[in-house]
């Protein structure tokens, strides 16, 4: 029996469709269908000037919009050859890690409610508020920040913001301990996660899976370490990885990443130099190409821009991590029960905005 889980289904977190073929409750086949939210952002970008695209890039992903506008700015800086002031780089790293924390907390909230645990949803969303409030005081908005600029960031940090950020880190760390107790202390949570949705290392590499699902399969691969951008090469942090490749490993990798993010924020605030936070970028880009790759909370995000000498890009290609990762769904799903679909697909942290572009 083919069952359409989606496009309107509580499991999907967005607008996509997972067709599963079940035999009783066991899944024998699966087929993800995406594209319901296709907005043609890549084409729209060809008709906008370079600065006008920053808010559009924000709208790629509702979970972690800052990553994408940062990636876009990075790509265009590569194309234009703009040097970013060091302070701006540090501010970017702090905000990026905050965005990663917020995104992972939102994932945790959605994951908890997928497993039927309402309390986890409310707690994670409550704690995400702290980070969103900080980013709001920085940029003025709570979801699509529109904060990075080509050649820096829009504003300097508000007064006392760094102190607030450190306090937020402490708060999140106490909460993370609580989450570990809440989830890992729950026998039912472990029953639902351990040995569910196994993705072998070979499969993960073959299918092009990146981000936490790849690291949970035992591959130590993180853009921040392996191809450092911004000032990540100066900062000291671990690449979180687990060998198991099941849902619990994915959960655990994300929790570990949150700890690492707190560490990175502390270091970056400590080392942040004084000075300019923005340089003037040229209006027109030269003829040539620019490439940017970042470690999005969901995997490796990549942008490729082709400039033709005018103030508009000739072509902007966006590589979305989730678009690739979701194609690994059948290899993870087959053989498990129907109730595991939510655990497995929830563990991938679907974000349809960037997937369908």
């Amino acid at each position: 029996m083919w069952i359409n889980m989606g496009p309107q289904h509580p499991m999907t977190h967005g607008l996509w469709n997972l067709r599963v073929k079940v035999d009783g409750e066991t899944i024998v086949d699966a087929e993800p269908e995406v594209g319901y939210l296709h907005r043609g952002i890549e084409k729209i970008c060809e008709n906008r000037t370079y600065p006008q695209i920053i808010p559009l890039a924000d709208r790629l992903c509702y979970g972690s919009s800052l990553t994408w506008s940062h990636l876009y700015c990075m790509t265009v800086e590569d194309l234009m050859g703009v040097e970013v002031p060091e302070r701006a780089e540090y501010i970017r790293v702090v905000t990026l890690e905050m965005q990663r924390l917020a995104s992972h907390l939102m994932w945790l909230a959605a994951y908890a409610v997928d497993l039927g645990m309402m309390a986890g949803f409310i707690y994670s969303m409550r704690d995400r508020e702290v980070l969103v409030d900080l980013l709001q005081s920085l940029s003025g908005s709570r979801l699509t920040y529109n904060y990075p600029r080509i050649g820096g960031v829009a504003h300097d940090l508000p007064p006392n913001w760094d102190r607030e950020a450190l306090r937020a880190c402490n708060y999140i760390e106490t909460r993370l301990k609580e989450y570990e107790d809440l989830y890992e202390g729950s026998k039912i949570f472990m029953m639902r996660n351990v040995d569910v949705g196994l993705l072998t290392k070979e499969d993960a590499l073959d299918l092009g899976v990146t981000g936490p699902p790849l690291r949970a399969s035992g591959v130590r691969y993180d853009m921040r370490k392996d191809r450092p951008y911004s000032v990540y090469s100066d900062l000291d942090f671990e690449v979180c990885s687990r060998p198991e490749g099941d849902c619990f490993a994915r959960y655990r990798v994300r929790i570990d990443e949150m700890w690492e993010s707190c560490k990175i924020i502390r270091q970056a605030i400590q080392r942040m130099p004084k000075g300019k936070w923005r340089t003037v970028a040229p209006r027109n880009a030269p003829v040539g190409t620019g490439l940017g790759r970042v470690e999005d909370p969901r995997g490796e995000g990549m942008m490729y821009v082709v400039g033709d000498g005018s103030d508009k890009p000739y072509r902007l290609k966006i590589r979305s991590p989730i678009f690739i990762t979701v194609s690994a769904a059948p290899s993870m799903l087959v053989g498990y029960k129907m109730a595991d679909v939510v655990a497995i697909m929830g563990g991938l942290d679907m974000c349809i905005g960037e997937c369908d572009r």
């Binding site: 409750e25 039927g116 645990m117 309402m118 986890g120 029953m191 029960k337």
Partner: protein, 377 residues
Amino acid sequence: MNLFQFCNGIIVWLVELVNNLWYWLGDVLPWYFGDFFTGIGDFAGSHGHIVVMTIVLESLMVIIVALINVLNFIWLDRKLSGRIFDFYGPYYVGYRIGGWLQNLADGMKLFVKEIIVPAKADKLGFLLAPVIFVGSSFLILATIPLSPNFGIATNESGEFVTAGVLFAFAAFAIAPFSILLAGWSSNNKFTLIGGMRSAAQMMSYEIPLLLTVASVVLLAGSFSFVGIVDAQHDIWFAIPLFIGLVVFLVCIAAEVEVTPFDLPEAEAELVEGWTTEYSGMRFGLFMMTSYLRGYAGGALATALFLGGWQGPSLIPDEIWFLIKAYTVFVVIEWMRWSLPRVRVDQILELGWKRLLPLAVLNLLIAATFKTMGWFSG
């Protein structure tokens, strides 16, 4: 005075009042009408009619008590979940009484909503499933007394039926059938899977549940609630049969479908499970009845393990009973809001590999105590 005598008094008074009218009409009207009205009066005054009407009134009172408790339960559940989840819960509707009127407002909203029947649904089954579900759930309360004086399954002198426990659990076990019927007749894949899960789930929890009940019955030596509660005069069965209480609470949570075991309506993967296609007040009835079953589960746990209505006589028996039932309900709700959902194969494993041996062990303990003559009242 017990409930039967109380209702009997009301009915006798009412019948006498109305019979004045019938006999007066019989006097003033010509014979061919008059005899008719006199006959009505004679019928109304007959013993059989009065007993039947008394039982109807009794049932009505028990249902009203149950419904008021259900309103309290829903309110308590919302407030409690609010405390667990860091929000206030219902607040504005009925501001002075802690948002208690929110349930009535929600009920009104559900009443005015359209009842949608899917075009390809089996109309009869779709209509019948809520009736069976709600009816069987009210039937559970028929034999559960709130005190020796407040119950409807009595004879005229107030003695309770001897097999009340059997009847209550039999009525409790009807619901999965109606869930399966609802799931099948809705003609929807999600509801179908929900209904099937309900049947699978029932197989896992029903046997341990009844084995723990059997241990209580064995220890008390009685099948009636009054006998079981009287046997707990010295010590509640929760203490000698602690394992049984734990097994019973887990099984009751599965029976009333709260979150660790709400597989039939697992909203994450099955949209809303077997209630997906129901709308308006039919859905409202399902919601209301699930809390009613929570009330019945709490009442059963109270009567079987927590000493029923026994307690210091400062407050009435019925209130003692309700306090204990509310406590059990709060424990179940606490579990509901803080645990994730188990999987369908895991609940079978839990039922057969964990709960069943524990229930058998509990039965063994009860048999030992009975043989030694300990704790059996």
